[in-house]
């Protein structure tokens, strides 16, 4: 019984200290934001590897998600003779939910895991210590540019996802299943609200980008410097990021659309 209690105690303490380290890490990272923004070269390189290289998977997934939405939506809506609202349904579900959430999940799997592995391996091979001894702060040089790149890319990736998704929905709904094209677009245009739908979706994607990048970088930086430690940290990045995305999505949705 005592050992049971002490195990619980230990894991609570470990979780709390890790959270504390994570917060300090974030604070240090953010404290360099300004100086890193003054060196756009550092960020642009990371924008490429974090953002641009993720575009392909985002585009393909967005296309398929939109096409499935088109199919499913058409079958349900046509029961009620409301096929014309297909565009609204697709656009609303993509812009409000699927765009930010699915692209954040993909982002965590594609970019987040590689950030963790990269930083974890740099730690394991003493590159971070080496930089410290050269009087270069790795948080400023390595972590902060990646953090900013992640925060900037995520909303853009979510926007691409939603846009491609809508095109996919149109492809299936209009070109394949014969929904009236004029109705499809005009209904969408009149029902989707800039503030309620688009801006809220953008806020979500910004929050997800922030959280996923933070988790990825911190897990890498805090990894045990061995190959096993890095591989575990990479797994944790994907798992924790996914939980964080889905949990925060519920909270944000409740706050934005829940009339609470």
């Amino acid at each position: 019984m005592i050992t049971f209690l002490s195990t619980i105690g230990h894991s609570v303490i470990a979780t709390l200290t890790k959270t504390g380290r994570g917060a300090l890490f974030l604070k240090q990272t953010l404290s360099y934001t300004f100086s890193v923004l003054c060196q756009p070269r550092l960020i642009s390189k990371q924008l490429f590897s974090v953002g641009v290289l993720t575009i392909l998977i985002i585009t393909i997934s967005g296309l398929f998600v939109g096409m499935v939405l088109g199919l499913q939506g058409y079958y349900i809506l046509s029961d009620f003779g409301a096929e014309e609202t297909l565009g609204v349904m697709i656009a609303a579900s993509l812009v409000r939910e699927l765009g930010p959430v699915v692209s954040a999940l993909l982002f965590a799997g594609r970019a987040g895991s590689s950030l963790t592995a990269e930083i974890g391996l740099m730690k394991a091979t003493e590159q971070l210590s080496g930089m410290e001894m050269m009087a270069v702060d790795p948080i400023q040089r390595i972590v902060c540019p990646r953090f900013l790149a992640g925060c900037l890319s995520m909303p853009l990736l979510a926007a691409i996802f939603s846009m491609v998704g809508i095109l996919g929905g149109q492809l299936v709904g209009v070109s394949l299943l014969g929904v009236d094209e004029g109705a499809f677009w005009s209904q969408m245009q009149s029902s989707i609200d800039f503030y309620d739908d688009i801006l809220n979706g953008v806020i979500k994607s910004v929050v997800f980008g922030f959280v996923v990048t933070w988790i990825s970088l911190f897990e890498g930086y805090d990894a045990i410097p061995t190959s096993e430690g890095v591989s575990r940290a990479t797994t944790r990045t994907v798992v924790y990021s996914s939980f964080a995305i889905l949990g925060m999505d519920f909270i944000l949705t409740a706050l934005m659309f829940g009339d609470i």
């Binding site: 003493e126 590159q127 080496g130």
Partner: protein, 268 residues
């Protein structure tokens, strides 16, 4: 007697240093001095804490007790920017090399120069090529760290450690993995650097002969204590069994080859 005269010219002063990792005590009340402008060697069995000592001097670890003064500053009382300013004046050759793997040899050596100076690219190129020439790797400047052998990586790391012409360089096992020729070149290089530009060098090494040939002063450590010190000649003539065992590489003696453990036969 000689020591007392040079006492005030020491660049690094370590007094009553204690340091432990988890349960294991690595330093127990150790004191040592690194003289300005001299080559000081630190020797000791594997796992005795030589790398740890360098990390303590560089401020990457903090001692649990005792003081470490580098260039007149208490290293663990400095704030971040003061510590970084001090580190700019120290070069460190890591045991593992610690080269940045996503840039090539040239950029690795240029890295500290680009970070800390605003020199034009043409001057940086000259500086880097000079350093690479000194370690014999000017022709390898376009290779990436994963294309280098262990010994080559260490020489690049050495070139990087001296890139900013620091006041002090800490070499963690610079000779490991070097063939006799490059070893000879490195020994000479370290000696020349030290004498010509007034560098202070700390060498951690197992190569007793090579190190003794260039060191001005040697500390031998084991089990967290300094068990012998002196000039190479003094140590060669030392009566201490420990020192004799280490200098002559005898397996039997008071210095233990094995990591502290239970009785072998009980373990089996």
């Amino acid at each position: 007697m000689e020591e007392n005269n040079t006492q005030n010219s020491s660049l690094v002063t370590i007094r009553n240093l204690s340091f432990a990792r988890e349960q294991r005590v690595i330093f127990d009340n150790a004191s040592l001095d690194i003289q300005h402008g001299k080559i000081t060697a630190i020797m000791g069995p594997s796992g005795s804490g030589k790398t740890t000592l360098l990390k303590l001097i560089g401020g990457q670890l903090s001692p649990s007790q005792g003081s470490i003064v580098v260039d007149g500053q208490h290293i663990n009382q400095l704030n971040r920017s003061e510590l970084y300013a001090l580190r700019k004046k120290m070069g460190m050759l890591f045991q593992s090399g610690a080269l940045l793997t996503d840039i090539n040899v040239f950029d690795n050596v240029a890295y500290p120069i680009r970070e800390h100076t605003a020199l034009p690219e043409s001057i940086i190129r000259t500086l880097v090529l000079m350093k690479l020439q000194a370690v014999g790797l000017r022709g390898a400047r376009l290779l990436y760290p994963n294309e280098l052998s262990g010994g080559m990586a260490r020489r690049v790391a050495l070139a990087r450690a001296i890139a900013l012409d620091p006041m002090m360089v800490m070499y963690d096992e610079p000779f490991t993995g070097q063939d006799p020729i490059s070893m000879g070149v490195l020994v000479k290089l370290i000696k020349t650097l030290n004498d010509s530009v007034g560098l202070t060098s700390i060498i951690v090494s197992h190569d007793v002969e090579e190190t003794a040939a260039i060191a001005d002063y040697i500390y031998i450590m084991s089990s967290g204590k300094i068990i012998g010190q002196g000039t190479p000649q003094e140590l060669q003539q030392s009566k201490s069994e420990w020192v004799q065992q280490f200098m002559n590489g005898k397996p039997d003696g008071p210095v233990k080859f094995h990591y502290s453990s239970d009785n072998y036969f009980d373990d089996l």
